[in-house]
């Protein structure tokens, strides 16, 4: 257990050093993109843990991001809290919201759960329009973020945002990595693979499901606070249904249940549209066509990845490079799918151990 923690901490420190070196080398806009990627990594990792490990689905994590973002904005505007205090506080507020929703969600599964969380994604952000006095209505809440004075007057604020968001993301990932390798993570896999068998071994399925929801919402809330810190504006238009769908896409694309997959998903979401827009506009396409090419490219990437790597990018990489990488390194952040989870959890062997994730959900609703 302590060995795992140390290993994850070491990995985080190495990643932090790499990000630091990159942020100093790259221009101010790339720094901004690093911050954006950090936001999406956290949000996608939280969703990926929920879907990939506990077997529940959520189309409402964009709404939890809104909760975190509004909490962060209100704390920064009215109480002038610094980022290091705002981030955990916003995550905690989103966790409470996640707990409330999770209690209801634990009773639902499959498309019913998807539908209920979809409702959340649609309804919650428009609350801001109902209480314009507190939430600023459609205009939202505008923040001011500046780099600390001791970094010098010419220090780009986007680099500061990149540092803060990356640090927050790395801390969140270390905690998640440990959580998924712990007894809780094993129990989640058990209820995912076979809730009945897991219950027979004495696991409290409902409580584990609620816990997974809380963890997922916490991550989304932290990501929302990071987004507020990065874009310096929180408004309902940022938390539309398409955000929730983008998170789900990122999680599936990267590889469900894997934290490294969250990074791939975030890279695709943030970088593909920018890169493709640059290419499309530099080739002199008509604006109507050029405007829609990023969306088309996104779709093509999604289709191609799903066809080639049904387990997502991380799954595909493992399949290609698996024999080349020492086993303990690939296992660093991923659940071990080759051993039946219920065995790991100390229970009975699952009767259908080799079924892919999610089939139980479908079966339950047929």
């Amino acid at each position: 257990m302590t060995m795992t923690l140390l290993r994850h901490l070491a990995a985080a420190i190495v990643a932090g050093a790499v990000i630091w070196a990159a942020s100093v080398q790259l221009n101010a806009f790339r720094d901004f993109q690093i911050a954006e990627i950090a936001v999406y990594v956290v949000a996608i990792a939280g969703l990926s843990v929920l879907i990939g490990l506990s077997g529940q689905i959520s189309l409402g994590n964009g709404a939890f991001m809104a909760v975190g973002a509004y909490a962060a904005a209100l704390l920064m505007l009215h109480l002038n809290w610094p980022a290091w205090a705002v981030f955990p506080a916003s995550a905690a507020i989103a966790a409470v919201a996640g707990g409330v929703v999770g209690v209801a969600a634990a009773r639902l599964s499959g498309p019913y759960l998807a539908g209920a969380t979809l409702l959340l994604a649609v309804a919650l952000p428009s609350l801001a329009n109902q209480f314009p006095g507190v939430f600023g209505g459609d205009q939202g809440l505008s923040l001011t973020v500046t780099a600390p004075a001791r970094l010098g007057a010419t220090f780009p604020v986007t680099r500061w945002q990149a540092w803060v968001c990356s640090a927050a993301a790395l801390i969140a990932l270390v905690i998640l990595a440990n959580l998924t390798r712990s007894r809780v993570g094993r129990n989640w896999r058990a209820i995912r693979d076979d809730p009945v068998a897991a219950a027979l071994t004495g696991l409290n399925v409902a409580r584990l499901r609620v816990l997974a929801f809380v963890v997922s919402a916490t991550c989304a809330g932290l990501a929302g606070a990071m987004l507020a810190f990065t874009t310096t504006l929180v408004s309902p238009g940022s938390f539309t249904l398409s955000l929730s769908i983008a998170l789900l896409t990122g999680a599936v694309l990267g590889g469900l249940g894997t934290l490294a997959g969250a990074l791939w998903g975030a890279l695709v979401i943030v970088l593909v549209p920018t890169y493709v827009t640059d290419v499309a506009t530099s080739h002199g396409l008509s604006s109507g066509v050029a405007a829609n090419i990023p969306i088309a490219a996104y779709g093509v990437v999604l289709v191609v990845v799903m066809l080639l790597f049904p387990d997502g990018i991380q799954g595909g990489l493992r399949r290609i490079a698996g024999p080349l990488i020492p086993a303990n390194l690939t296992r660093l952040t991923e659940p071990d799918r080759h051993r039946p989870a219920s065995e790991q959890a100390g229970g009975l062997p699952s009767p259908d151990r080799h079924r892919p994730v999610g089939e139980h959900q479908e079966e339950g609703t047929k």
Binding site: A28, F29, L227, T232, G237, T281, S287, G288, N292, I295
Partner: protein
């Protein structure tokens, strides 16, 4: 022999004269000092400007035509000598009307592409996501494509300038018309539940006596079921409905009223009454519901206002100019209100750049606009000064007849205060220059 010699001499003389004229033009356009890279985004040959636009997503229909139309006018300028010889390059990126994406694409334009200025950034919630950033980075943020009064704040946002008629002034101008022409009638209000609708209602309430307003109904753009609001307007006995709504919701309002056999006089903000857009939406929505309507017949008689010459006024020199540019550079788009808007705001930008000087810094552009701009295509003057960054100050009242807006009465100007009078504009709009260049 003699004759051919003379011809040759004449030809030589003509060539020399042409060369001299060309040299003269060249030297007058580069003046005394040579062109220099005087600011980020400005090179010896190019001025790079950027914008965020909803090219995809919910706000794209109609609004996605604006930036290509601006670009069409810039291409026209580039083909006619550019700005002091420099060509304008206009990079507009898609933000899908999502403020988070706006924050990202505007930073890309400023930090990576090093644009000289942000021009015509579209939308109130989207542009609010970047207005602080642009001002702290000291990037000129000119002619925001939104009528929110919030851009006019020179102390907090010295770099930001509005352009189109703000919604408070528009509300006052429509309100005065309602007060004068529908005295004693019951008035209902229908408006979008955000800054746009509420600023409009504020302006209306400065003019229309409160006792006449029998019902105030708002909608949110994400909920297309406005049956309850229309029923409430009918129940309150409204004889006139004043609407601050986007085109889709004016169409829904009209159709829902038809269904309830409710036929008040409709007075509506310019934002939602481009007859081509509105007529098309009416037919499309009716078709979805299994009915056939005549878009032109339904828009007939809607009272609205306009701050640019009307598209139907083909004799107007501004319309003729913008139609010519449209046909040459942007012919695939329909020549509608959005295209007119895009070209007119681009014209204003060229006016400002010419005024900013041959080798402008970023501060020269904001200084040039603060010093006031000639009226150009707008029907009323701009109020740009060191203490006012608003933009247009007036509009005319128009009525839709056979799919075009027909001007009624004079151009009216006013201010944004509760007591400022709405009065006829005494000046006249100068015709468009024959060269098409400011």
């Amino acid at each position: 022999m003699n004759r051919s010699h003379r011809t040759r001499t004449l030809a030589v003389a003509a060539v020399v004269a042409a060369a001299l004229v060309a040299a003269g033009c060249g030297s007058s356009s580069s003046g005394g000092s040579a062109l220099a890279a005087s600011a980020p985004g400005i090179t010896k040959t190019q001025i790079l400007i950027g914008s965020h636009q909803p090219l995809t997503g919910p706000a794209a229909p109609g609004y996605s035509e604006i930036a290509p139309a601006s670009n069409a006018y810039f291409q026209y300028v580039n083909a006619h000598g550019g700005i002091y010889g420099r060509k304008i390059k206009y990079t507009y990126l898609d933000d899908a009307y999502d403020p988070s994406k706006t924050a990202s694409v505007v930073r890309q334009l400023v930090l990576q592409d090093s644009v000289y200025s942000i021009f015509d950034g579209l939308g109130t919630p989207t542009h609010l996501a970047v207005v602080k950033y642009l001002n702290s980075a000291k990037v000129p943020d000119v002619f925001v494509a939104s009528g929110c009064d919030c851009w006019n704040n020179p102390t907090t946002y010295p770099e930001t300038f509005g352009w189109q008629l703000d919604y408070i002034r528009e509300g006052k101008i429509l309100g005065q018309y309602v007060k004068q022409h529908f005295a004693g009638k019951k008035i209902g209000l229908f408006f979008q539940d955000d800054e746009f609708g509420m600023d409009g209602v504020k302006g209306l309430s400065y003019e229309i006596p409160a006792s006449q307003i029998v019902s105030k109904q708002s909608y949110v753009p994400t909920n297309v079921n406005i049956g309850p609001q229309v029923a409430a307007l009918k129940a309150a006995g409204a004889q006139v409905v004043v609407s601050f709504a986007i085109p889709a919701f004016n169409a829904l309002l009209k159709l829902a009223s038809l269904k309830l056999s409710f036929s008040p006089t409709l007075v509506a903000s310019n934002v939602g009454t481009d007859p081509i857009t509105l007529g098309g939406l009416l037919q499309a929505f009716a078709k979805q519901a299994g009915a056939t309507v005549n878009g032109n017949a339904l828009t007939q008689g809607i009272i609205t206002d306009g701050y640019l010459p009307t598209l139907g006024d083909t004799g107007n020199s501004w319309i003729a100019l913008f139609k010519k540019v449209h046909d040459q550079y942007d012919a695939k788009a329909p020549f509608d209100g959005n295209v007119l808007y895009g070209e007119a705001v681009a014209y204003t930008f060229v006016q400002a750049m010419l005024k900013a000087g041959k080798n402008p810094t970023r501060a020269d552009l904001t200084k040039a606009i603060s010093g006031g701009l000639p009226q150009g295509p707008a029907v009323a003057p701009y109020d740009y000064s060191a203490t006012d960054h608003g933009g247009m100050t007036g509009a005319f009242i128009g009525v839709i007849k056979n799919g075009v807006i027909v001007q009624q009465g004079p151009v009216l100007t006013t201010d944004t205060t509760p007591t400022g009078a709405v009065s006829p504009y005494s000046g006249t709009q100068a015709p468009a220059p024959s060269s098409g260049m400011p």
